[in-house]
Symmetry: C2
Subunit: 406 residues, 2 copies
């Protein structure tokens, strides 16, 4: 039961039915490949003759290939269809506080080549450096094969304009990012924040066997905590592009001071820094100071997890406590949007076995129904950085997206 948005709609043209059905066919082939035309017709609930024309379109467009059938049952053997690797490439750029990474990959997220450098914090210099490294990656024939660029920025972004609204770590405010870089590179480009991008990666490149790809939340735990929410097959970006900021919903109004300046944000309990501070037995603010001072080396979250796996009781206790707080925030997400599942990404997933029990206990303690408490919580264990995959997803998504109708 969807209501028309009278300010933003698109009437159906005579090509709309075909467009819709072609995309349905393409998605079903991707989902169930390899499958025959007759199977596709059964799954879609249309005549085989319709499938013939749809598949002809897709084959002619180079999106789908036929494969000889080996399996035999009874009757005429089917021609099996599968998605044809397009050979097109995507450039993903992940800008983080300390390091910027570039990945050239195919549209399924299989890497071709990657590069990285220490982030410079002046936007102009950073853009220049990114342009230089991008050109190095896109030399020769790759340039023509590259279909677009997806940029992940550590902060809030207006995806429509590509302007970085606020990136506190970088001290950026209203920095136009897409326009200058896209002009230099001469490629279509989209800018997104990390949680939304990670959600897009799971949505467009993830296996649907892992769970629902149209209704879930992606929680990314790193320096901060951000959430990308997908509902009805669409990312929830929010009216002013700041949805998913569960990281700044407080667990306790008088809790520790967060990097945003407020008290008690979920992020200030579960960020990597918070866990490290907990391990060190210091308040969060002190840990932050230590970082800046950089005299004696402060252990990283990876160090703490390694210690826990080696049996260090203090590390284990710190991570268990983080698990509890992680669970409390996940319960907030469940209460708010009740997703079909939650995927958690970040270094901390390496400590899943340590945190899991406390996390689930916390979730159970703050959810209202057994069904909600049973929401699957899945660690994201892709080997490639989910942020970079998100950049790829930004480029790959249009290929499989449904046309806007109404």
């Amino acid at each position: 039961m969807r209501k028309l948005n009278p300010a933003n709609f698109r009437p159906a043209t005579r090509a709309t039915s075909r467009d819709v059905n072609r995309q349905i066919a393409l998605n079903l082939i991707r989902e169930h490949q390899p499958l025959s035309r007759a199977d596709l017709a059964r799954r879609m609930g249309v005549r085989r003759s319709v499938i013939t024309t749809l598949v002809t379109d897709l084959v002619d467009a180079g999106a789908v290939v036929e494969a000889a059938s080996t399996e035999v049952r009874r009757g005429r053997p089917p021609t099996l269809l599968s998605i044809r690797p397009s050979g097109e490439l995507a450039l993903a750029i992940d800008i983080r506080f300390s390091r910027t990474t570039l990945l050239l990959s195919d549209l399924d997220g299989r890497p071709v080549e990657s590069r990285g450098f220490d982030t410079v914090h002046d936007p102009e210099q950073l853009i220049a450096r990114i342009a230089k490294e991008s050109r190095a990656l896109l030399k020769g024939a790759r340039r023509a094969r590259c279909k677009g660029v997806g940029v992940i920025v550590p902060g809030m972004v207006d995806p429509a304009t590509g302007v970085v609204l606020n990136a506190p770590q970088m001290k950026w405010r209203d920095v136009p990012f897409r326009q200058p870089l896209a002009r230099v590179l001469g490629l279509p480009m989209q800018v997104e924040n990390a949680p939304v991008a990670c959600a897009l990666a799971k949505m467009w490149l993830g296996r649907s066997s892992a769970g629902d790809t149209t209704d879930f939340a992606y929680v990314i735990v790193s320096d901060g905590v951000g959430v990308g929410v997908v509902k009805h097959g669409q990312v929830v970006r929010g009216a002013t592009a700041t949805a998913g900021e569960f990281g700044h919903i407080p667990l306790t109004l008088t809790g520790p001071t967060c990097s945003c300046g407020r008290q008690g944000c979920w992020e200030s309990y579960t960020s990597n820094l918070a866990t490290v501070a907990r391990y060190l037995g210091r308040p969060l603010d002190d840990a932050r100071v230590v970082r800046r001072g950089s005299g004696a080396r402060r252990p990283s979250i990876t160090d703490v997890i390694a210690l826990a796996h080696d049996g260090d009781q203090r590390a284990i206790a710190a991570l268990e406590e983080t698990g509890t707080y992680l669970g409390l925030g996940l319960a907030n997400i469940i209460c708010a949007v009740n997703p079909a599942r939650i995927v958690v990404g970040g270094e901390i997933t390496a400590a899943w076995d340590v945190m899991r029990a406390d996390m689930q206990r916390a979730i159970a303690s703050r959810t209202l129904t057994p069904a909600a408490a049973a929401t699957p919580i899945q660690p994201d264990q892709t080997t490639i950085s989910p942020r970079l995959l998100g950049g790829v997803a930004l480029v790959a998504a249009p290929r499989f997206a449904m046309p806007q109708v109404a």
Copy 2:
């Protein structure tokens, strides 16, 4: 950029384009009535000839009427179109802890007749009583004109099955509600919880001049606090039908004990009972006991508001504090889903002038961007109970809903 849900889709048929465009036309006529065919063609961006056929359909179906044009500019005078009142009726039933109300109204929410009685808490007896009162309302010709029944239940509902999952006040758990009542009444029936229903009322029956009707949140403050979220023109119900439970997201984990048994829920700071307890200067639990004890009469929220308007400083202080906590919870909603606006309903909106400043201050203190802090917060000041209007919306919505495509 929407992804297909491979488990729940619907291919386009040859009638789909027409269905989509007819509904667009219907919605635009409703939105901008009265308007001419030529205006409609311009707004839709299609040829006038298409509009001719679409409008002919709508007029033949009795959905739209022509009106003589009085205004003249230049050229041939237009024939103005408007929505024809269908004459159809809806029965809305609002079940609350103490009282159950029935409203018979037209599909725009204009009341015809209403009835009420003290709620009986046994489901079977309640259904029997509702059936009796419904039959009294639906006597004679009304019966044929009534298109359906919308029931509002104080608790969590699975709208697909019409089973009440959990209504703690009523002590109901997994009570099948729709099937027995619908069978007795012999009418199509939908069951919803109050916040979702109120959101549906604003979505389908509200004026779009008040703000976005496809992206907003409705917060209902009464005995509890619930939220209905609308995104992309659809209500967010959640994978297990428990989305929008912001009322049970904690402001502080060690706060007052909520009716759900947990500590610090937003609801336990801002429900009517919480405000009354604050006025009485007692902890929430005591106030709850007083209610049960029912010795001396406990003041109601309406009493407290009246006192505040009379200048009672304690009442003013209590409401201002409620305003602060209300704002803190609204900030959580803004952080989570960043709606284009938030509508607040409930008795407490009568004290809007008292609470407003503190509420806005609290919102500003816990939001991340100026744009988010500026989210319009609107008191719902419809004279008819928004819950009953929600029941009407459940029946009226299909008339204007877009067909599902893909």
